[in-house]
């Protein structure tokens, strides 16, 4: 049987369409749902009210990440009673409906998008959903993974499916070699800066090209993670030997003959030569530099060598007002070189940059230095496994000796639902994904950067071009 060349997305999509009723969205089968404490309680309550069961508890896992404090004392006694209730509600819901929970004291606890891949739950060709917009992270394995709201969480719990209109396809090809000090984070910040926060609305992005293939799985996850910041439904990267090497031997990866069969199936997934995308963009990796966000939207980014832009140059009145408002909130003056912007806080962690490679990269920069006296810096590993691995490698010691706090895993100051919060007016170099007003605490000012750039800023007390950093050890 001959057929049209297909994209990675189309292959995964077609393998999961249960039924496509005329004039209605396709009913898409979901292979894995990830759950956490914040967006699930109303979904379970909905099931109870309707007398429904969870159709496939074996295709669900849950963990606690958004609310949990990142100090040991804080975790033993969660002071915030509303947060504590949300966590205990998840416990009850998982027990009542038979869902495996990686609780706060589990060696597998962590940010939901970090533990999925770590445990080998995330695999190529799967459909994966979670009530969290950064679910696109799992697309780094060639899975179709997207975020959704709580009504949809309930829908998947009840039916293991989701009605979906077919998204359009968008291939972003990043060709060439990255310079030293330029990372996966800089690739995705550059893309969002170029196409805008609604540049990929309605689309699934496939990231392709030699610069993407050269990334580790950790780097690929960083790129896919922020697809939502470009408005995309999902981001995907074709599975290859790097993917298989990462997955082999993980707890829920196939073993023995099943592994061989799985690799054979996964190898059929990459986009066929000649397959058509609705949109295409090509980026030259060799031209990329470290990026820093300067505003209140992830599209407001600039190279570290640049200055804060001038709103007067905006093409429209509404955009000019938007830029002025952003600069006012950020307390920045147009024309200020970004390297002169002083910071108060540093946050290294999150589902964007809380993996072991991020810890290593930040420690490499920090080793032998001291955090600036006017900066308070924290490192929050993305999971218990990341934390254990980092400690085995002595990274925690490097951070502590440099004056960083070394914390327990969770989402932490990426969204500041737990006690890790910026004070009004504080300026933070953050490896997270959103710089919206108040994201890290009301009145707080967030600058998005890579782990390397965040570590260097912590030490210098202001942003620096990490390409010129003198590594001590």
């Amino acid at each position: 049987m001959s057929s049209e060349p297909k994209t990675l997305f189309e292959k995964v999509w077609e393998q999961h369409v249960v039924v496509e009723p005329k004039g209605e969205p396709a009913v898409l089968y979901i292979d894995l749902q990830l759950l956490h404490e914040v967006t699930s309680p109303q979904a379970f309550e909905g099931l109870r009210l309707a007398g429904r069961k969870v159709r496939r508890p074996d295709r669900c896992i849950a963990t606690v990440d958004h609310n949990v404090p990142t100090t040991i004392a804080g975790r033993l006694n969660i002071v915030d009673q509303i947060a504590a209730k949300q966590i205990s509600t998840l416990r009850k819901n998982c027990a009542d409906f038979g869902i495996e929970l990686y609780d706060v004291d589990s060696p597998d606890q962590g940010v939901v998008h970090i533990i999925g891949p770590e445990l080998g739950l995330t695999k190529p060709g799967m459909t994966i959903v979670c009530g969290d917009s950064h679910t696109a992270t799992h697309g780094a394995f060639g899975a179709l993974a997207f975020g959704m709201g709580t009504s949809e969480v309930e829908h998947v719990l009840a039916t293991q499916t989701l009605p979906q209109s077919k998204p359009r396809t968008y291939r972003i090809t990043v060709e060439g070699e990255l310079s030293r000090g330029v990372t996966a984070k800089d690739i995705i910040l550059a893309i969002i800066g170029q196409i805008g926060t609604d540049g990929a609305t309605g689309c699934v992005i496939e990231y392709a090209g030699s610069a993407i293939r050269a990334l580790s799985m950790e780097g690929r996850m960083t790129v896919c993670n922020m697809s939502i910041e470009a408005g995309a439904r999902a981001g995907m990267i074709a599975p290859d030997e790097v993917t298989y090497a990462y997955l082999k031997g993980r707890r829920f990866s196939p073993k023995g003959a099943a592994w061989i069969e799985a690799v054979a199936e996964w190898s059929k997934l990459p986009t066929d030569p000649g397959a058509k995308f609705d949109r295409e963009l090509v980026i030259d990796a060799s031209e990329l530099v470290p990026f820093v966000s300067w505003g209140t939207s992830p599209g407001m980014v600039a190279p570290i060598t640049a200055a804060v832009p001038d709103p007067a140059a905006a093409p429209t009145e509404q955009e000019r007002k938007g830029l002025e408002r952003a600069l006012e909130y950020m307390n920045l003056k147009a024309g200020t070189p970004l390297q002169e912007v002083m910071i108060d806080r540093v946050f290294i962690g999150s589902c964007t940059n809380g993996r072991i490679e991020d810890m290593r990269a930040a420690a490499h920069i920090a080793a032998g230095y001291k955090v600036s006296t006017h900066v308070s810096a924290m490192v929050v590993p993305g999971s218990q496994a990341v934390k254990a691995q980092a400690e085995a490698e002595g990274l925690d010691r490097i951070f502590r000796e440099a004056g960083f706090e070394w914390r327990e895993p969770g989402c932490s100051m990426c969204l500041a639902m737990n006690p890790d919060v910026l004070q009004p007016g504080e300026r933070c170099a953050s490896t997270s994904n959103r710089n919206f007003e108040g994201r890290q605490g009301r009145g707080g000012r967030t600058h998005l950067v890579s782990p390397e750039m965040a570590a260097a800023a912590a030490i210098a007390g202001h942003f620096v071009d990490v390409r010129t950093w003198e590594v001590k050890q």
């Binding site: 915030d80 947060a83 695999k123 959704m148 009605p163 309605g202 938007g322």
Partner: protein
């Protein structure tokens, strides 16, 4: 979900682009386990000072727009986080319709599940409505989902596109899970076959 056919109401102009869901409902209100009661927290940081005083210039604090059930906003409305709490907050506050040049994808789904009608008009049309809502006292719009039109009494008239199935669900106020379960036999058959694909097993 409350069915929607036609609504005539005051329209409130929120003249900002890229309004994100962190602004619509800040994170501290996501710790609750209830589905209702979010209206008072809508745009919390924009409506109130850190000291808890109302910000008079913010549109939803302006008595002229009290009771508005239609919100007019800039492009890429409700981008960012997937929190359905944003849709709950808008709905609990009393909004049934948002008019904007574009909406973020996840919010688009969430709004549909909560009976909120999202009307996409051109930038130019939205600018006209925004200006009218700012300058004309007691400015009312009529949104007909059945006819897919937005009209006012001053001669403005526009049609909008909406997916026919989404329109049907909004008009009937239908429960999505029930709709999917019409296909339960197909689902059972699909799942039995899908279970054989070992490489797609979660665990």
């Amino acid at each position: 979900m409350e069915p929607f056919r036609t609504l005539t109401s005051l329209a409130a102009p929120l003249d900002r682009a890229n309004v994100d869901t962190d602004q619509i409902i800040p994170k501290q209100f996501l710790k609750r386990i209830e589905r209702t009661g979010y209206g008072e927290f809508l745009f919390f940081d924009w409506r109130q000072t850190p000291e808890g005083e109302l910000v008079p210039e913010f549109v939803l604090n302006d008595p002229r727009y009290k009771g508005a059930q239609i919100l007019i906003a800039g492009k890429n409305f409700a981008c960012g986080s997937s929190r359905e709490h944003a849709a709950w907050a808008l709905s609990n506050f009393g909004f049934r319709v948002v008019i904007a040049p574009s909406f973020a994808d996840i919010f688009f789904s969430n709004a549909g599940k909560n009976g909120i009608v999202l009307v996409r008009l051109s930038e130019e049309q939205v600018n006209t409505l925004m200006n009218n809502a700012k300058t004309i006292a007691n400015y009312q719009l009529t949104v007909s989902l059945e006819n897919q039109t937005v009209t006012d009494s001053k001669g403005f008239s526009a049609t909008f596109e909406i997916d026919p199935f989404r329109k049907f669900c909004l008009i009937e106020g239908l429960d999505d899970i029930g709709l999917t379960l019409r296909h339960e036999a197909d689902l059972d058959a699909f799942e039995a076959k899908h279970n054989q694909a070992g490489w797609l097993k979660a665990k």
